[in-house]
Amino acid sequence: MNVLTAPVATQAGRGRRSADLLRARELGIVLVLAVVFGLTTIKNPGFASRASVRQLLSGASLVALLGVGQTLVVVTRNVDLSVGSVLGLSAYLVGKLFVSHPHVPIVAAFAAGIGVGLVVGAINGLITTATRVPSLVVTLAMLYIVRGVDARIVHGKQIDPTSIPRSYQSVGFRTVFGVVPWLTIIVMAVVLVVGYCMRTFRSGRDLYAIGSNPEAAALAGVPSGRRVFWAFVVSGGLAGLAGALFLSQFATVSAVAGVGYELNVIAAVVVGGVAIFGGSGTVYGAALGALLLNTINQALVAAKVSAFWNQAVAGALLLLAISFDRWLSLRLQRIESKRGERRVLR
């Protein structure tokens, strides 16, 4: 997959101007989001109601959370396809924990979910970095293996809402001011923390360096293997957390929980401006991408467009988004090179 991708945004953080460009990218998503929201509200005022907004936020939360982990991995020129399976396994195991020990503290339940994810993430990271096998293949294999293990454990049964404590379920449905679900607040906190770390800490900047140019990063002394390993561990851990949140949100878990999430997540991440071949993009963008895709889906419903159009529009939108991104980066590159020439002339 040798596609020419060297977007200008690769130099993020090195200069103020390129940082501004990045911010502009997220601003673009916010604008599209506002337009979609505005137009739909004009057509159907109910779209701006509390219940509707709550649904927009809670529907996007899990994909946004998975998108955060995916961004860490994709920025290093890797990919994690196993997130949907990890979500399913973690959700079921946490549910099972409640079935066998009804009085487990909520924090312990979350920790268990995250733990499941961390283990799978560590396996992904170990195999990818130790044997230098393409992560696409490793995580595709883990997608199957984890789903298979999950099915083996579930064995045709499912977790029912009756066995999940009310207090745990309330994480999924209780809201602040009747609008923002706790679920979303947790996800937002994760987005902000990870976003800050990726921007500020050396290890975070290293991820971008690895993705922009692996050889250069290695020559510059970046411990690539260790960084990529931890990116996978974090992605796994967040997928585990997403599983625990899935349980609190739906309270019903069968063997098919989270099937097919991986492609939704990658779609959200790509729409959010994370370059699929590494080196650029932010977790804010990824989270906004998830929100945008969910908002468009709901908008189609609210605008009384048949629900059957959802997927087709989502697909077309994804293609438009990446085409536009490509066009933008080519343009910016042209502008930059012109500026460079002028500087040389001076």
Binding site: M1, V133, Y144, H155, L263, I266, A267, V270, I276, Q311
Partner: protein, 351 residues
Amino acid sequence: MSSAEPGLSVDDSIAAHAELPLWRSFVRWETALLVALVAALLFGSQTKQFMTATNFFYIGINIGEIAIMALPLTLIVISGEIDLSVASMLGLSSTLLGYLFRSGWPIGLAMVAVLVVGALGGALNGLLVTKVGLPSIAVTIGTLTLFRGLAEVILGAKSVTGFPASLVKIGVVPLPHTRIAYSIGIFCVLAIVVGVVLQATATGRSIYAIGLQSEAAHFAGIRVKRIKFRLYVVSGITCAFAGILWTFRFATSRYDAGTGLELNVVAIVLFGGVSIFGGRGTIVGVALAAAVMACLQQALTLRNVDGQVRNIVTGVLLLVSVVVPNIATALSRLKARAARRRRPVTVSFAP
């Protein structure tokens, strides 16, 4: 602007090939697959019903469409790209066939129309990858959603049945005088054609060249973009054809036909020894991989192993297929690193 090659660089793989001792050239991935196939058959034969013609008919019928879709995907992956939209194209084709048939089109004409739509879908992928220059993994995740979405728009939650019995028969009876499923017969013919094209024609060799070093291939006068574009069109047509077979096998047309199969197809291609970075892989390997997967799955089914649990086998095979060939290189890398540590290193920063 340089081409962004994830992970392993081309120089590495060429160097690795050049340094192979003679005996290693006999150790091919295809040989390992053959051994795996024998092992799968031995494992399967422990169940009574396994070594029967009927059982092999069912093994074939279950893998037929997937194996057919794996053929063009093999070419695409060898050229260094990927196509994740294959199963969605199968679904779109099945849906469209049902829709046109229900609207009163003669079934023959409807089939032609479906193949044309397959070509158009492939052309869309091809255009976005070659002309717009987008990463194929992102493009085909987009068209994966788009094609499935269009299928949903066309038929909604309805399904179409009542296809002519003579055609539906194709899906459920073997070829005359044999116990081979139609789809497997078609797969064999296509595999031979694709295999000959890949191994013995200039176009086929160009595909390897593109996968190894796209830029070098370009400078050598290979029309990289045109070939890639055509591969996507071929893939679209083939998957549409697989969709027609799928429709006849189930005698039903539904928008969700073959949902999620793309990963199975990719798994078979990669298990067949095709390098995800392009430039390496054979049709024989992919055909053997399909056979191994199909036999193992069926052997497990006969032992009443649940479908989802059988995924573990797919995953482990995939993992083994990429990790085992890399263990040798990983070890030599570790050794080299250890040697480097023992030697004093002088680094100069002079330009």
